[in-house]
Subunit: 645 residues, 2 copies
Amino acid sequence: MAFEYLSNVPLEEAVEGFIGALRDRGMKPVAEMVPVGESLGRITAEPLYAAISAPHYHACAMDGIAVAAAVTFGATATTPVVVQPRDYIVVDTGDPLPEGCDAVVMVEDLVYAEGDSVEKLGTCPVALYSSVAPWGNVRQIGEDICAGEMLLTSNVRIMPAAMGAMLAAGVQQVSVIARPKVGIIPTGDEVVPPSANPKPGDVMEFNSTIFSGMVRQWGAEPVVYPIVPDKPDLVRATLQQAADECDIVLLNAGSSAGRDDYSSRVAGEVGELLYHGIAIKPGKPAILACAGNTAIVGVPGYPVSGIVVVEALVKPILEQLFGCAVDQSQTVEATLARPCTSSLKYQEFVRVRLGVVEGKTIATPLSRGAGVVTSFVKADGMMTVPQNSEGYETGESVQVRLLRPFAEIEKSLVVIGSHDPLIDEVAQLMHASAPETSVASTHVGSMGAIVAAKRGENHCGGIHLLDEATGVYNEPYLEKHFPHGGVRQVECVYRQQGLMVAPGNPLGIQSLADLACEGRSYVNRQKGSGTRILADYICKQDGIDPSKIYGYDHEEFTHTAVAALIEAGSADAGMGIYSAAKMYGLGFVPVCEEQYDLLVPDYAWDTPMVQALIATLRSDEFRTRIESLGGYRVDQPGRVRRHYE
Amino acid sequence: MAFEYLSNVPLEEAVEGFIGALRDRGMKPVAEMVPVGESLGRITAEPLYAAISAPHYHACAMDGIAVAAAVTFGATATTPVVVQPRDYIVVDTGDPLPEGCDAVVMVEDLVYAEGDSVEKLGTCPVALYSSVAPWGNVRQIGEDICAGEMLLTSNVRIMPAAMGAMLAAGVQQVSVIARPKVGIIPTGDEVVPPSANPKPGDVMEFNSTIFSGMVRQWGAEPVVYPIVPDKPDLVRATLQQAADECDIVLLNAGSSAGRDDYSSRVAGEVGELLYHGIAIKPGKPAILACAGNTAIVGVPGYPVSGIVVVEALVKPILEQLFGCAVDQSQTVEATLARPCTSSLKYQEFVRVRLGVVEGKTIATPLSRGAGVVTSFVKADGMMTVPQNSEGYETGESVQVRLLRPFAEIEKSLVVIGSHDPLIDEVAQLMHASAPETSVASTHVGSMGAIVAAKRGENHCGGIHLLDEATGVYNEPYLEKHFPHGGVRQVECVYRQQGLMVAPGNPLGIQSLADLACEGRSYVNRQKGSGTRILADYICKQDGIDPSKIYGYDHEEFTHTAVAALIEAGSADAGMGIYSAAKMYGLGFVPVCEEQYDLLVPDYAWDTPMVQALIATLRSDEFRTRIESLGGYRVDQPGRVRRHYE
């Protein structure tokens, strides 16, 4: 194995080389015996053979009489055969077939002589009007399982029915693959255990929780070590201990530059460094090393990079060397809703939202920020852009590995449009009343809703577009953009827009004009959002030069992001809705009430998701919930204001 | 709710009525708080909001200097701006952005005056050749998560990334749905705990293990009560106790007729009987009752019926009333390989094997015996034949609900043909070396292999067809049945056929002729099997009238089934292979050595599964394993004897 340092090794080569090295050094699964009752979901270590047959005896399959079939031969509807008590034995279902018998006649088929009846069965003769074949109404030995037969091969997951089959086959203990131990070592001076009140500069250590969950899902057992400060001796000692105790060790670096050089040095001291630098993004600084037959994986500190590295480098070890978690994830073909550029240098993993609209699966790339862990929470799939590709254009067909069952994705309401926290509340109410549905929302502003509907990419989207000429909301825009119709404008809410300011409004800000001066700062919404259009409109109306407002170019995608920045003191004001200001306890200077509608393309109207949405909007629960948020007025939500035909 | 007794209620109506009754009586989920670290796979009970933003402070995203972006404005490649030490602060990645700063300049972008260097950073002026925008190289508060935002709705499964997101959002405890308790009561005088040495008549109690695994997979917690004998008072007392302690109680009847009447009486005494008799097969005698807001489900004793009832009646309660286990199982369209008749009276659930052959998904119905638990182990899917349907013809297109991921099924080698235990050994070796492949084998005899290949339904099948005229194996049959070619004849093994007899051959049986007399009994293989053809051939050759052999019509589908019956003393002899006789410790009277080949249709040849099969046949492991079984001779397994083109 060549020693490579700060390389840019293609992923496939690194995985192959690493697994080969580990195999050469003796990494392999260990078997352990567990009681069958505790084996659910475990992986068989060896082929499993039946110890006894099932049934293990010839069992009567009916209540009736057991006979030698031969005594019934010749019986027909016209010429009955009479069987004497000495030639039959009364049996119940499940009884062992008595010696000398090879068939059972059902109690319903017995005919009694006058004066006899079922009560006398056992002592009276009975007449049969049809014969029974040898082994008729008998569950023969081995009908289900023959002793010595292979019930399961090795390396298969044990399911409930198999547990039953094992017990039926006289097997009470099963040899399964011991769960490989995966040690997780968080490091970093700035890293602290999770808390509800972290100090500025504290980086909360939640990677170990994520990685633990991941490896647990793949059939391994996580072992989390305490956070180690950035002292080489301490890191080395913990890594050595973990390498002794575990099959795989994840050394999770802090987020500062230079940390991974330092990790690679320690990994090379405790074991043998094989690779440092893999051609993947995120995750490039990953480290692969062996200490004896223990794998050491240096995992970057940012959670998204970490997840990608653990998935790309640890899962294959569990699969290929321990037989756990054989990847059954499905891949689907999807149409890309936005361009996705990528570096030639790396294989890039891009999280995407998926939605099925008009029978087409649409993939929308999510934030690629290395620190944006919610991109994994929202992700429905993972798209891979190969090394040496510059990425994909809008409308290109891409392959996406599913992170959720496709059946779930098919029932997901794809909301692309203006942001309002009420969308999350709708998602909650809708999912609670129709659990098979879910909501995948992307915040791209009101114009984004129109573009998405034109392209056939959403089921609905929020719009609040003020027409400067008429002062009317939405209608003029829809008439212009859908001259041939094909959409419905659905009433949602009226909401209070205004300037969010620090609590108590200490600077006495009353309008945008108050921000166009030295020493004041603003935080804006992105172009194309209804709120941005409103701010631009007010500037124009009031004759304010936006370039005089510091931060007017500072764009955020949601009302809550704007509110969070004002609360943090990073800006003095920002346009937004009352509910966001209230959520953050901010001051609020009302500007206007606006009409927030939902745009629903005709192609989506009859889907169960849109119908569930409409039902939710019309429900009392929605009214109650929205009114409790503050800053909203509700009239007839769910009503179709106008169908553009 | 109408009281119904021994009815034949359609399943849908029963489920709806039962769930409605339970809801009316107050059945609903209970929430409990668990630490985030222990929440993997649990279902949220409430929508979950971020307590703090993530990042919770403005974090420097690079090592470098923090500045007020404004001081860098105007810097270009030709006109640098010099920043004095008082106007910047040295920062590392992850540091909080210092007061008064709103941007970071990367250390790589700093240019030093002569004599200065990075070591003096903090005390020396630095020149910048480009400006930095406000918030450049800063991870702003809320970049990932804004405080107050909804992270998850209620009723969603918690995945690893969501656990990380919760901790990042300052959430340390999460409200999840408490696992509903499902009590399981086994009953029956004949029912005993599983053992390795059951007595004849003992029915081993493994249903509770199967049901426990099933409800555990759906997110509930099983509680298994000790086996209760058939005494009404004892059953009533246990049912009462379980109803008090659990949310759902499964009362598992014994297998004897009349047991379910008795169960329904007890259920009606402890609670209120709602339905007895559902129009499903298997599972008709199911019982549905309520005791307060506890569900009581009377489950038939046979395991297959039990599994169907638990799936059809208990899963919907967990899904619809507790929000667990929302069914995401996929349905595929498949072509039926055999006819499947069904009663008009019931909705029938039929387990099927699935395989993808030539791009077509083929469904083969498995045994419908109520006691055949292995039919669930082998099943890849469940086909439903609706009430009022007489079933389906061969070649009809049917909908099948998947029990395994389709990705797994696609990689399954479909073996349809003659039975030999070596097929299981091949499956084991193949799966061990190529874990993504598996084997689905169906035993229908050698002629079945030919029929399946003609219809495009298998990837391979075992054949050992002796041509009476020439004494040659297989070739004459393949020439006749594939006049236009399209198949390969692949060498597998030579195997010893003979008469399996009791150990030591106490009756001194030497040939089939010895069985054609009073007091002897035989067990045969099914028509179309190579072994049956051999037996028929010998009878003809030796002038034996098969009708004189008692049991010649008694047909079994495998060598092991024949061996098991001889071992049990149910027959004196049966034709079969040496390895089966050896497995059961039987006597063996050799008859001939036969050539057991594999038939591989051309359409299947290039599939990864067939290629893995050929590689396995050619491996040393195969040779070693087969020789250890006894009764086989191995020459050049995996060699193509002849390609019929």
